[in-house]
Symmetry: C2
Subunit: 283 residues, 2 copies
Amino acid sequence: MKLVSSEDEISSLCSRWREKGLKIGFVPTMGALHAGHLKLVEAALEDSNRVVVSIFVNPTQFGVNEDLSRYPRDIRRDSALLENLGVSAVFAPDIETVYPRGFSSEIRVKGLTDGLCGTYRPGHFHGVATVCAVLFGIVRPDIAVFGRKDAQQLAVVKRMTSDLRLGVRILTVPIVREKDGLAMSSRNAYLSQEERKQAAAISRGLFAAVEACRGGQRDCSALRDVFREEVEGEPLLSVQYIVTVDPNTMKKVEKVEKEVLLAVAVFAGKTRLIDNVLIEPEV
Amino acid sequence: MKLVSSEDEISSLCSRWREKGLKIGFVPTMGALHAGHLKLVEAALEDSNRVVVSIFVNPTQFGVNEDLSRYPRDIRRDSALLENLGVSAVFAPDIETVYPRGFSSEIRVKGLTDGLCGTYRPGHFHGVATVCAVLFGIVRPDIAVFGRKDAQQLAVVKRMTSDLRLGVRILTVPIVREKDGLAMSSRNAYLSQEERKQAAAISRGLFAAVEACRGGQRDCSALRDVFREEVEGEPLLSVQYIVTVDPNTMKKVEKVEKEVLLAVAVFAGKTRLIDNVLIEPEV
């Protein structure tokens, strides 16, 4: 496996693969890899002949009061994990490589980025969309793999990739969960023991809403209440948002008539966690 | 020459050329072609094996009170001119092809789009940057050719193409002028006979500023005054802006120490005309 920090080097490596007719899969990450990331990589390995994983803690998607400086970093451990899986190259550029002097462009995906996390993290999705376009431009993969935990990010990246005809197919992978149901996240490392224990209520609440729908409840407001009740039982948790939206447009939905995304952001102490489920009307 | 309106058709045509190792040149236009456009096409033909010209009056780069509806359109005449030159394909999509249902992305090139035309045409350059990225994504040319008359547009497109690693090299072509010096523009068709006559003062003013610099004047404020005096002699002309800026960053400059762009927008009656010259310090 190659560990590459130079743009020219990764570009020409990928060009050579393309010229040989090899299919390139790409998994953009911020490192601090967990089992969820590894599932993305496995999906890429299954689909493509060569897999590139980027590790780049992108400053433009962090707000001023967010956790950029303390975001967990361990490139050695990450590289070892990726090498074991059979990844061909890790691209770990520094900030000046991704954003050279004079960099001025920003991609906004209007509408999709207004609600949910966009309300509380202004500019976050502009940062995500822009860095994805840049990384896609450098690597020029055939496919890129994203997890469904960041449901709004996924919708934004899909829309942007299609709008700007970047020529990259987006594959998605289901949320990977801990045994008690907590969605895998690099930010879980911030949780105290007690916060970690209570955080299990987030997925319990989501699954309870799915069950309520199976039981006949089609009213989204009632489903959101099912979630809220579960989480409000835990004193260290506080809900930032609970929404029911169309998974592609992120527009609010009040009845389960087709697939609905129930997406939430919950603070466990000072740590902000997100999670979601897709709720489908029984057929 | 092929006249294509479908995205799939132009994409697969260009893919076939690429697979054969042919170099693709691209000239994006809004039609109403004049001798300036034809110079762009000639530059593309000289550089590349196959040349695609797009004709698309892009609504997102027009302001609400601008001339979108009356912008001149003559696809037959344009096509005939391009076929004569040896263009391989004209891509003339409709609005829904370029911006399919749900299209939500917008590219902003910060800083570069604030001054000059950006001040008076808010959103204009977001529209230009976005449509160029979309068209580049559809055609995937090796090179794209732009004229220097739209100096700010050129800076924006260069920056965006480089920032987002679109893999397209930008070629530029000097301003083509009428015999009396007026820069070629599709909007010259709007001018009355008297406006047309007086409009020659715009280029006279620019050339006078270049002469003044050759004569030793390095103070940009004085050079702008040289231009202003020339234009103020014509009663049907009124200056919207006169700026001296760095041609790449569009940042204001007050001394001619390296290449300076003197860029102007002038109303001739109700028609807004732009023009510019590069002023270089004598070596």
